[in-house]
């Protein structure tokens, strides 16, 4: 056992040494903080004419749902498959009930968690809606919605979300993403093309289809992670 640990230490040290020696004095790897964006593809994303054409103030959002929107579709599919795998491993087809908790929530905890639920949900929706203007977007906002659901699950041992509604929401938003992509193909020239007017940079209604796509991503991520939470906190009903 001790020898195995020593071997593992040796392997990791060798790997670290290999990585650092490869990066050290490599002309392709720039020094920290000393990057010229004109050499990179990002220089074009930050071009002012390009920004006015796209209409999104948050350039990270412009990349995630615009330039790499197809990538994001694949990534949402990965998340869908992982939530499907979790549901399969827990045998979600049979009737489920909540895991027995070794506490019973009192009145204050139950009411307080309901109040906080509204606040967290509102912040999550705000982050999703302003994804093309401020930091954040569909992925962090969706996770916030799921965390609000998790709060309800933890604070009340009888609570059970309507998981069927989550599944419908998830499938609908996933399909709508593809439908909007196909609309770009029909109305314009290629899949996921921005066929709506870009508007003024900084307005809530700007950047064409980006806010719509990010709302769909937020709903999909939120419902998927809520489904995973429900799977973890329930078990098969023995009866």
């Amino acid at each position: 056992m001790k020898l195995k640990n020593l071997l593992a230490l040796l392997v990791t040290l060798l790997l670290a040494l290999a990585i650092i020696l490869t990066l050290n004095n490599n002309t392709l790897f720039p020094a920290f903080g000393d990057v010229d964006l004109a050499d990179r593809v990002s220089g074009q994303y930050l071009d002012s004419a390009q920004i006015d054409e796209i209409g999104a103030a948050n350039i990270v959002t412009a990349i995630v749902v615009g330039f790499r929107g197809f990538d994001t579709l694949g990534e949402v599919t990965v998340l869908f498959i992982s939530s499907l795998g979790v549901a399969l491993l827990f045998g979600a087809s049979r009737k489920q009930k909540r895991l027995d908790a070794d506490f019973s929530p009192n009145f204050m905890l139950r009411v307080g968690s309901r109040v906080l639920f509204g606040v967290i949900l509102t912040v999550g929706l705000y982050i999703i809606l302003h994804g093309h203007l401020t930091p954040g977007g569909g992925f962090p906002g969706g996770t916030m919605i799921a965390s609000a659901i998790l709060l309800l699950y933890l604070a009340d041992d009888q609570f059970r979300a309507k998981i069927k509604g989550f599944k419908i929401l998830e499938s609908a938003s996933g399909s709508l993403y593809v439908v909007i992509g196909l609309l770009g193909l029909v109305l314009a020239t290629y899949f996921l093309q921005n066929f709506l007017p870009a508007g003024t940079v900084g307005n809530l209604l700007s950047a064409g289809i980006f806010p719509i796509l990010y709302i769909l991503i937020g709903l999909k991520v939120g419902s998927e992670i809520s489904g995973i939470i429900d799977n973890f906190l329930t078990e098969e009903d023995a009866k």
Partner: protein, 112 residues
């Protein structure tokens, strides 16, 4: 130089995966590896005096220095995929615990 700290976090996670036999600790090590790599990818796009790549003023874009937005977009997606894989791994761990009554792979026996 500071980028090598991210590499150190990455190999620490790898060491944790190789040494630990507890499934939960292995999943935690996997997450440590992921954090190290995410930090490294983010650090590639850093520029001194650069600001977050969000247009907040009407100044011409050429007047301001923005950090590279592409690594940030890639890490944003990598984090979400990390959540998905962690959830799947934890589900497998829960199944192992349900069947064998332990998280320790040494005690599981027939899995080795």
């Amino acid at each position: 130089m500071i980028q090598y700290a991210a590499i150190v976090i990455f190999v620490l996670g790898l060491y944790g995966i190789l040494v630990n036999r507890n499934v939960i600790k292995m999943i935690v090590s996997l997450n440590v590896m992921e954090i190290g790599l995410n930090l490294f990818i983010i650090s590639i796009g850093f520029i001194y005096d650069g600001i977050a790549p969000i247009i907040t003023s009407t100044e011409a874009a050429g007047a301001l220095i923005y950090v590279d937005p592409l690594p940030q977009a890639l890490v944003l997606t990598a984090i979400v995929i990390g959540v998905g894989t962690t959830a799947l791994a934890l589900a497998v761990a829960k199944s192992i615990h349900r069947v064998h009554g332990t998280f320790d792979l040494n005690e599981v026996g027939d899995l080795q």
